[in-house]
């Protein structure tokens, strides 16, 4: 069910402040696309505009087009809630629901949307999702314990399980490993490589090695200057970005000259 995303002339605002300007790119289905760049350049803002999470912030708005398999996400007849069911998201800090057990966290997307399901079907979904997130063997004996009791890496995989349980087409990941230790990071990276068979994945990361390791394409965001909006400087296959980028700024950033 993975889908293709085309972004054209996207401007993103916070109130009157233009945070991101003129983004054009195409994200291929069943691939991992990494977004890199210095802090505050609008990577995360851009990512959040892909499933309309951006407009959750008061005063935030978007101009331009985000098209997924031919449908404009910002069309007047499109409900952001439906968009988010299609395009799931994993956040920087693991955020399992503290009032729910591991089991309930996984089925939260289904339950909160009050879709009626048989217990057996739910059990099956939980197992499938947790296996999909490589967490099943670690938690299968304590599904009724609170999700907040897991370690950071486990919590993050629980959040991934929760996101894939609603079977989205696209999975957005906003620096999913930045709060984790190296071992947990490795587990998540392995998981991403498995998940790209079924989902289109877009990941924002500060870790360039991570981008190089997991992604097929990489986009480099940068600020035109202080107080200026962020722009997509270069979007190319990962190999090309890291070996022979088109732009001087990309090379400077990757070789560690700034950022």
């Amino acid at each position: 069910m993975a889908k293709r995303i085309d972004v054209s002339d996207l401007d993103i605002y916070y109130g009157n402040f233009k945070a991101v300007e003129g983004v054009n790119l195409s994200i291929e289905p069943r691939s991992i696309t990494a977004l890199i760049g210095p802090s505050g350049c609008g990577k995360s803002t851009f990512l959040r505009s892909l499933n309309r999470m951006h407009e959750v912030i008061p005063g935030a708005r978007v101009e331009g087009k985000v098209v997924i398999d031919g449908q404009d996400l910002y069309g007047s007849d499109v409900d952001p809630v439906d968009v988010r069911r299609q395009i799931g998201m994993v956040f920087q800090r693991p955020n399992p629901f503290p009032t729910m057990s591991i089991y309930d966290n996984v089925v939260a997307g289904v339950r909160l949307n009050s879709t009626k399901m048989k217990r057996a079907a739910l059990d099956d979904l939980v197992e499938r999702s947790l296996r999909g997130a490589n967490l099943w063997t670690e938690v299968k004996d304590r599904l009724d314990r609170p999700g907040a009791g897991l370690s950071g890496g486990q919590q993050q995989r629980l959040c991934i399980a929760r996101a894939i349980a609603v079977e989205p087409a696209v999975l957005l990941m906003d620096e999913p490993c930045s709060a984790l230790d190296p071992i947990s990071t490795l587990a998540i990276e392995d998981l991403m490589t498995e998940l790209k068979e079924r989902f289109t994945i877009v990941i924002v990361t500060h870790n360039m090695q991570q981008a190089a390791r997991v992604s097929e394409s990489t986009g480099f965001f940068n600020l035109a200057g202080v107080g200026q909006p962020g722009r997509l400087v270069e979007f190319n296959p990962t190999e090309k970005i890291f070996s022979n980028p088109d732009q001087k700024a990309t090379e400077d950033y990757i070789s560690g000259r700034f950022g």
């Binding site: 809630v81 988010r84 799931g88 998201m89 956040f91 955020n95 629901f97 009032t99 909160l112 009050s114």
Partner: protein
């Protein structure tokens, strides 16, 4: 800040390290000196016929003086000032505890006499002099407080949800401001409002239980809004975003994620709000009136609540007065116990729910 010029003189000969050590009062010395002051004060007041009040007054002065002078001599001016303020602050706290202790003692002392079975299971209907009880008043309090909670909790919670989750711009600012203003309206004025509201439709003689509930609601709603607002704000935004990202609509997110996460705090706040209105007397004097028999229907006839009962038993005890006064104190005692119980309950609720609401 002036540096201490006495420092070299106060230097301890025992220290050879790079850090200068100063002469210090031994740890128990200030307390001991203070005690000494108190003893001296007791002796002093005994000269003019012993009195606890005079002992306390002299004691605080002498004790503080003793500590200050000793510190001044041994430790220098700056440290002495510090000790002086410490004495004053402790005294202030003790002074504030005095009314609390005295109040609880007075109420227990006077209220226990009539705290019997009859007090709880009989009304004042046909009672002259001895006997009688607050059965009708206790039930009246329950009915009116329950009705008040029934009106205030939904309105208060919804308003808090509006302010935290939906509110923007001028309307939000106006409501926040007016909730603040509402917390400050004197309760008697609120009573007059409820009276004026009903008098306009039913004439000036009207006294109903529901009028009291309306008045108390005006007092309770802002308390509920304030506490619920604080609690809802504590729910981390990440949880809301996690829910939105699963494609859950906002209203379900609020109902299924935000409220369950903050339920402990909401329950605590509501219980405290109930505790706040259960002892209100003034608005009920002008709205529910006073009656000797039991009336459980808030929509017809006068009703008595515990605080109003207590007030009238004290101010109009009948003849002979001692029985009414005894009943008044017992009612006051029951009222305090009720309010304290609600406060303890609120604490328990917040403790019980604490693990799930903590981040």
């Amino acid at each position: 800040m002036r540096t201490d010029t006495q420092a070299p003189a106060a230097e301890s000969p025992a220290s050879a390290g790079p850090v200068r050590t100063r002469r210090k009062l031994p740890r128990p010395a200030p307390a001991a000196l203070y005690l000494l002051g108190l003893l001296a004060a007791a002796a002093l007041s005994a000269l003019t016929g012993f009195s606890i009040a005079l002992t306390a007054i002299y004691g605080v002065v002498l004790g503080t003086l003793a500590v200050y002078v000793a510190a001044r001599l041994v430790e220098g001016r700056r440290k002495a000032t510090d000790r002086l303020v410490t004495c004053l602050v402790w005294t202030a706290f003790a002074l504030a505890m005095l009314p609390l202790v005295s109040l609880i003692y007075t109420v227990l002392d006077n209220g226990l006499a009539r705290l019997d079975a009859e007090f709880f299971n009989s009304s004042m209907l046909g009672v002259v002099g001895e006997g009688g009880g607050a059965y009708h008043a206790i039930l009246g309090t329950l009915v009116i407080t329950g009705l008040t909670a029934l009106i205030s909790v939904p309105i208060g919670l919804l308003t808090a949800i509006y302010l935290v989750e939906y509110g923007t711009g001028r309307l939000k600012k106006a409501i926040t401001f007016l909730v603040d203003v509402m917390t400050g309206i004197p309760s008697i004025v609120v009573g007059l409002f409820a009276f004026a509201l009903f008098a306009l439709f039913f004439g000036p003689g009207i006294r109903l239980g529901i009028m009291g509930a309306v008045a108390l609601s005006v007092l309770m709603i802002p308390v509920v809004v304030r506490s619920a607002e604080e609690v809802l704000k504590l729910v981390p935004n990440e949880l809301r975003e996690a829910s939105y990202a699963l494609g859950v609509p906002k209203w379900r997110t609020i109902l299924k994620v935000v409220i369950p996460t903050s339920i402990g705090g909401l329950a605590t706040g509501t219980t405290l709000a109930i505790a706040r209105v259960v002892g209100e007397t003034a608005p009920l004097l002008v709205t529910t009136g006073f009656v000797n028999g039991t009336n459980l229907d808030p929509f017809s006839g006068r009703m008595t609540t515990l605080p109003v009962f207590s007030f009238y038993q004290l101010t109009q005890p009948g003849f002979p007065p001692e029985f009414g006064i005894e009943r008044a104190w017992s009612a006051a005692l029951v009222l305090i116990v009720l309010v304290m119980a609600l406060n303890v309950l609120a604490r328990l609720i917040s403790r019980f729910f604490a693990p799930t609401t903590s981040r």
